[in-house]
């Protein structure tokens, strides 16, 4: 029982960041119909920017995380304007190939710039875990969960309560009609991709101090983001949130009770099962996509 509670807490912390990753990816697919292979690289980018700002420039920890996210948003906007905008009329497979090429460029540029040796991001939180009855958790992880939750909430408010959110949701449902109503689809696309990239960079900057930073850290994470999105139904925002937490719990519990070695494999097995048995995902998007 004690162990179960501990796994539940760990799974929630993990799930929070997974949800951030999933939402960015699912939003980009839902609105732009782009399968974004650079998502994992934006995550890596966020972590390296956090490293550069905290460890090299000695800036404040929180400020660095904010700046890393802003830089991620900028990189996302650049990718959208340079690569995706000219490809608006291309088929989904060609766009996918371009994104794979971009991921290849980003990852190897990072490897070239930073070298293959993993980096550590120092953080100001005490290294002593907080102990609450049978459960112990590091303050840093609690901070990560709190920020992730705040970002999720903020993002939901942005979509639900702002004019911009309405424009995004309208584009999601029917781009042509939205365009007729005066929504500038091009800018909605750029903003969507930039925001999705920003969320990935934020997840990287948040998890960078928890784990270590390496050029290939985005590989597995990018694939996991796909797992989350498929789990929840491609293009569904609540689905991506639920999928993120579900994957966090599955990994944590399967890793704890079944097999540590195969911990990372459970997520992928889960996707294969979901796709084989329930291809529309756990929470199918209301709007028909694909």
């Amino acid at each position: 029982m004690d162990q179960t509670l501990q796994h539940l807490v760990n799974g929630t912390v993990l799930g929070g960041t997974y949800a951030l990753l999933g939402i960015g990816l699912t939003l980009v697919f839902g609105i732009m119909r782009v399968v974004n292979f650079t998502h994992g690289e934006l995550y890596t980018f966020g972590a390296y920017m956090a490293y550069a700002l905290v460890a090299l420039l000695q800036l404040d920890f929180i400020l660095s995380l904010v700046l890393a996210t802003v830089l991620g948003i900028g990189l996302g906007a650049a990718i959208e304007l340079l690569l995706l905008r000219p490809m608006r009329r291309a088929d989904i497979d060609s766009v996918m190939l371009v994104m794979i090429g971009a991921a290849l460029v980003l990852q190897n540029a990072e490897m070239w710039a930073w070298g293959g040796v993993a980096k550590l991001i120092p953080n100001p939180f005490p290294g002593e875990p907080l102990v609450l009855g049978p459960v112990s958790v590091l303050p840093l992880r609690l901070f990560v969960l709190a920020v992730a939750a705040a970002l999720l909430l903020g993002f939901w408010l942005l979509l639900d309560r702002t004019r911009f959110g309405v424009a995004m949701r309208a584009t999601f449902q029917d781009p042509e009609t939205a365009a007729l109503m005066g929504v500038r689809i091009g800018w909605v696309n750029t903003a969507t991709f930039a925001l999705g990239s920003g969320l990935a960079a934020a997840a990287g900057a948040l998890l960078g101090p928890v784990f270590i930073v390496s050029p290939t850290m985005g590989d597995l994470v990018g694939l996991k983001a796909f797992a989350i999105v498929i789990l929840g139904g491609l293009g569904s925002l609540p689905g991506a949130t639920i999928g993120g937490f579900a994957l966090g719990y599955v990994e944590e519990f399967a890793g704890g009770f079944v097999s540590t070695e195969y911990r990372d494999a459970f997520g992928f097995l889960l996707i294969i099962l979901v796709l084989a048995l329930r291809p529309q995902g756990l929470v199918p998007a209301k709007e028909r996509i694909g």
Partner: protein, 342 residues
């Protein structure tokens, strides 16, 4: 319609003499330039060209973007290596599965069968889902296999790698049945298998089967309505494609003599995809042309650029090709020749 088939019709020269002349030239390379480095580069390029030819069957002819293709390559490599090394594993209920070391040709067949079998499985599974789902499913499939290879240490030695894999053994003129250890022997073997794979795929796409696949790619509902059994054809294409990739994996294992879970890396799938896309998907020569370019490029860049920069160039080349020459080099050349002729 793809230009690949029509290119073989006008003039016997284009369709017959030129390709065989090309093969003959390649066969002469070890005699004229017996440089071991050059042969090593061409041999590994050849192995990837076989992979690209098999991927083209799925990607180019059925139009399914399979991004887990390296799974079949890796399965073939492991199946062949394990069959020739022998293994002894627990399979539950206190039982053990023991396999004594087999001759290499058994390993080669095992590679084709195992990869083909998984191709069938993936075909049945994946063709229920299409588009983005299919792509992600294939990526995950390769990932799961990589993790199994990493963690099933009893069978695969995990990250310690399978070492001491015997070389390919073949009857060789004047020497009887020998293990192929020389660079030129391996080069000719890979060349021969590449030609066989090419001919097999050509035979296939020029048959009724190939026309059905092209019909599927063009308009699936129409193809279905005139009685083409879509799932059946797609599954057969997946099995054959996987089997050829498995054969390439077997060649790889017996050529490098050592394999580790990294044979399942996504980057190898990407390499094959780049070869097919730049050369021209859905054309017979596309994977060969693209394969030569991207198989030789790392070695042309060696010395002038560190490996990371090479990969940056790869990625940039892929982006530029897809954006500016989306159909690939071969269709562009064919269009150019046709305009010249007209």
């Amino acid at each position: 319609m793809s230009g690949g088939e029509s290119a073989n019709r006008p003039g016997q020269f284009m369709g017959y003499a030129l390709p065989w002349g090309f093969v003959a030239l390649l066969a002469l390379v070890p005699v004229v330039f017996p440089d071991p480095y050059l042969l090593a580069v061409l041999t590994s390029a050849g192995i990837f060209i076989i992979g690209a030819i098999s991927l083209n069957l799925l990607l180019g002819y059925t139009g399914q973007l399979s991004l887990g293709h390296v799974a079949f390559f890796g399965l073939g490599a492991y199946a062949s290596a394990l069959a020739t090394l022998g293994f002894d594993i627990a399979i539950g209920f206190g039982l053990r599965l023991q396999v004594a070391p087999q001759p290499v040709w058994v390993g080669f067949l095992a590679a084709i069968l195992v990869a083909g079998g998984f191709g069938w499985l993936l075909g049945r599974l994946a063709f229920r889902v299409r588009g983005a789902f299919f792509v992600i499913l294939t990526v995950c499939f390769a990932q799961v296999l990589r993790m199994v290879a990493l963690n099933w240490v009893e069978l695969t030695q995990g990250p310690m790698a399978l070492i001491g894999i015997p070389g390919f053994a073949l009857w060789w003129p004047g020497e009887g049945v020998v293990e192929l250890t020389r660079k030129d022997q391996n080069y000719w073997l890979v060349l021969a298998v590449t030609v066989l794979a090419f001919l097999l795929v050509r035979q296939l796409v020029q048959s009724r089967f190939g026309r059905a696949m092209v019909a599927l790619r063009a308009n699936e509902s129409l193809a279905r309505s005139v009685g083409i059994r879509v799932t059946h054809y797609l599954t057969v294409a997946a099995v054959i494609s996987a089997g050829i990739a498995g054969a390439a994996g077997s060649l790889f294992a017996h050529y490098t003599r050592i394999i580790d879970p990294d044979v399942f890396l996504f980057i190898y799938t990407v390499t094959m995809v780049i070869m097919v896309v730049t050369g021209g998907k859905g054309t017979l020569w596309g994977p060969v042309v693209g394969g030569f370019i991207f198989g030789l490029m790392p070695d042309l860049l060696r010395g002038t650029a560190p490996p990371e920069v090479q990969w940056v160039i790869y990625g940039a080349a892929m982006i530029l090709f897809v954006m500016f020459l989306p159909r690939g080099i071969v269709p562009a050349l064919q269009a150019l020749l046709r305009r010249r002729a007209a």
